[in-house]
């Protein structure tokens, strides 16, 4: 079974049913959970995640209620037994939410709720407002994001911070469009992997063949928009149906 970091948006379609999404992702064999806190202006996301974010905000998401949801999901994952153990939770969001709460407080609250780490795409590793240092103080980590098109010097700078994980966005552009894998792309993954850093490779992964092609070059494959679209297809249905649909979609990808 392939290792997948499965993405979901907190409070999408609403609180109760987003808990069902988390259950479905755990059922489906997620090795990591990436839980996105919705932001009003998600510039790095495509239409699927933007629409999910808008609906989640309409459903009453607040940062505090998001941490409470993470706590519940962490309790679910903690009770699961399996060869890989419980899937660690990475909390993904935008700088505005982190900065508004205070970087240290946001990180501390996230860790307290059960997050193992944070993905903050618009806080670059060299201008992160102290996020990585705060995470390290609280026993967690920030997973920096890089792109396969990054100049070598930029990637070297990132790797010099000795991150445990690196999230590699495989294509130009936003989340949710299909990605073609070529040798240059896979070469970047191999280069990062050779440093001992765990590579989380994603952006546009939507079928099993892509997962298979990637997994030899990455620690885990990230699946985001494809799962959000699976939720969207049954978003108005009952929680059980959502849980089953998400689990089935993820199983297609984990193999």
């Amino acid at each position: 079974m392939s290792r997948i970091m499965a993405h979901m948006v907190a409070y999408y379609p609403d609180r109760k049913r987003s808990l069902a999404v988390a259950e479905g992702l755990i059922d489906g064999g997620a090795s990591y959970l990436e839980i996105q806190f919705p932001f009003s202006d998600p510039t790095a996301d495509g239409p699927a995640i933007q629409e999910a974010s808008e609906r989640a905000l309409d459903a009453g998401f607040t940062v505090q209620s998001g941490f409470d949801l993470v706590r519940e999901i962490a309790a679910l994952t903690g009770s699961r037994c399996g060869p890989d153990g419980a899937p660690p939770i990475f909390l993904m969001t935008y700088a505005s939410l982190v900065y508004a709460r205070g970087v240290d407080r946001f990180i501390a609250d996230g860790v307290d709720a059960g997050a193992a780490g944070f993905i903050l795409p618009d806080l670059p590793f060299d201008h992160d407002e102290g996020a990585a240092a705060a995470a390290s103080r609280h026993g967690a980590s920030v997973m920096p994001v890089t792109v396969t098109s990054a100049p070598a010097a930029r990637l070297d700078g990132l790797l010099a911070t000795d991150p445990e994980y690196v999230y590699v966005a495989l294509r130009r552009g936003i989340t949710g469009s299909r990605t073609d894998l070529d040798d240059a792309t896979l070469g970047v993954l191999d280069r990062i992997r050779a440093t001992g850093t765990k590579v989380m490779a994603g952006f546009g992964v939507s079928d099993r063949a892509q997962v298979v092609a990637l997994e030899a070059h990455a620690h885990a494959v990230v699946v985001g928009s494809a799962l959000v679209r699976a939720v969207a297809a049954v978003a108005d249905g009952p929680a059980d149906a959502i849980r089953a649909a998400v689990a089935n979609r993820l199983r297609e990808l984990t193999g």
Binding site: F39, S40, D41, P42, T43, A44, G46, P47, Q50, E51, E54, L57, T62, V63, A95, S96, L97, V98, Y99, A100, R101, P121, D122, L123, P124, H127, E129, V145, T146, V147, S149, A150, P151, R154, A169, R172, G173, I174, S177
Partner: protein, 421 residues
């Protein structure tokens, strides 16, 4: 703080808080911008288009009748709205489009709120023969249809944005998404002095021609009347006309520099677009750190202004820093204040302010009354009001305007029916 062409940060504000995918195009843009600004040949190219296409210098009007009626300080109006396409936006569009050509880009994208930046960019792209796509919120498309018409006439594609509040900030988001996938051949022309660096510096540099001309015209017209300039006044949305107008004066203690924000319908959240004087909070949104209208959680709040161009939740980082340092003072004008000022200057001077610029005019009227007659105030009419006809006429034109619109629709229908037979 404005003596450098490239600053990146202004005090604590500014920076480049972007997803890593946008780092490469922004680094390239920074290098190209610095290179161009150091090249006299580039400046000559900009100046040539300014002379023959933009219509520079724009005049400065001594508003004698208005000043007499108010009885206080004398008001001068920098008629920047007489520039081609009707607003200061053309200065930045020309500069960035020429920079894009220099970088070998073959496609230009832009966001627009009121439509003025979109029209300016579309016009320059028509002139320079570059493909142009303008992102515009559906709400703004609905209230600024004449500008959509002109953009399309110039051959641009106007891409409607249906996400979020469907106004300027959502158009910025959509343009950033396009650029993240297209930067190899595409340049993104941001229309205001905001966004990730180098945009705030770049837009200020391209708009500072307004301030330089104002400096010369003060010598020529204001000083000649034996008056001393007390204040320069400009409206502030993102802040591109204000920062360009103020730029040459930032390093001196006088005159007073006053930015006027949209007071909308009141100070409650969602009823205005005033970020300064306590309503905004420090945040990181759309790639830069500045003062924004945010909820306690950091979500971007809704805004309101009668003028689409001021209806934006963030302020350019340099103006935010200048507000904190006190060099630039901030004031607010409501929707109603702006309409009153528009009417006042139209009746007295024969000029129609754009609704955005009319916010500055309202503040100029207010402070002129409080100042002695040997002082002068210069207000920047950053845009002219032609584009707002359908808003101002609805507010001020009464039933005769409505019956005119009705008769236009009837005529349209009659032509369509007749032509379809």
């Amino acid at each position: 703080m404005a003596d450098k062409v490239y600053n990146d940060y202004f005090g604590e504000f500014g920076g480049r808080y972007v997803a890593e995918v946008l780092r490469t195009p922004l680094d390239e843009l920074e290098a190209a911008f610095k290179d161009a600004m150091a090249d006299p040949g580039f400046h000559a190219e900009v100046d040539a288009i300014a002379d023959t296409f933009v219509g520079r210098p724009t005049p400065m009007l001594y508003a004698r009748n208005s000043s007499d009626e108010l009885g206080g300080a004398r008001i001068f109006v920098k008629l920047e709205g007489l520039a081609n396409t009707g607003a200061h936006k053309i200065n930045n569009a020309v500069g960035q489009a020429l920079l894009a050509k220099r970088m070998g880009k073959t496609r230009i994208i832009a966001e627009t709120g009121a439509g003025q930046h979109g029209v300016a960019t579309a016009a320059v792209c028509a002139k320079l023969g570059i493909e142009c796509v303008v992102y515009m919120g559906e709400v703004d498309i609905a209230r600024q249809r004449p500008n959509v018409f002109f953009m399309e006439l110039f051959g641009a594609t106007v891409a409607p944005v249906s996400s979020g509040q469907r106004t300027l900030k959502d158009a910025v988001n959509e343009a950033l998404r396009d650029w993240a996938a297209s930067f190899a051949d595409t340049h993104y022309v941001i229309g205001s002095a905001l966004g990730p660096s180098p945009y705030p510096d770049m837009v200020r540099e391209f708009q500072s021609v307004v301030g330089r001309e104002t400096q010369e015209q003060i010598e020529q017209y204001v000083a000649a009347e034996g008056l001393s300039v007390e204040a320069l006044v400009a409206c502030v949305g993102g802040g591109s006309n204000a920062i360009g107008f103020f730029a040459p004066f930032l390093d001196q203690a006088s005159p007073r520099l006053i930015g006027v924000e949209a007071g909308g319908r009141g100070t409650e959240p969602g009823q205005h677009a005033a970020r300064m004087k306590g309503l905004g909070r420090t945040g990181i949104v759309q790639g830069y750190k500045s003062l924004f209208l945010l909820s306690d959680d950091g979500q971007v709040q809704d805004t309101h202004s009668l003028s689409a161009g001021l209806d934006y939740p963030g302020i350019g980082p340099q103006l935010a820093a200048l507000g904190v340092s006190g060099r630039v003072e901030f004031a607010r004008a409501t929707d109603a204040d702006a309409l009153d000022a528009l009417r006042f200057f139209a009746r007295n001077e024969g000029v129609v302010f754009a609704l955005e610029s009319a916010h500055g005019a309202a503040e100029a009227i207010r402070i002129a009354r409080e100042l002695p007659r040997d002082r002068a105030i210069v207000v920047n009419m950053s845009g002219r009001g032609d584009k707002d006809l359908f808003i101002t006429a609805r507010e001020l034109g009464g039933p005769r305007w409505k019956s005119f619109l009705q008769s236009e629709v009837d005529r349209f229908d009659a032509d369509a029916n007749g032509g379809g037979e």
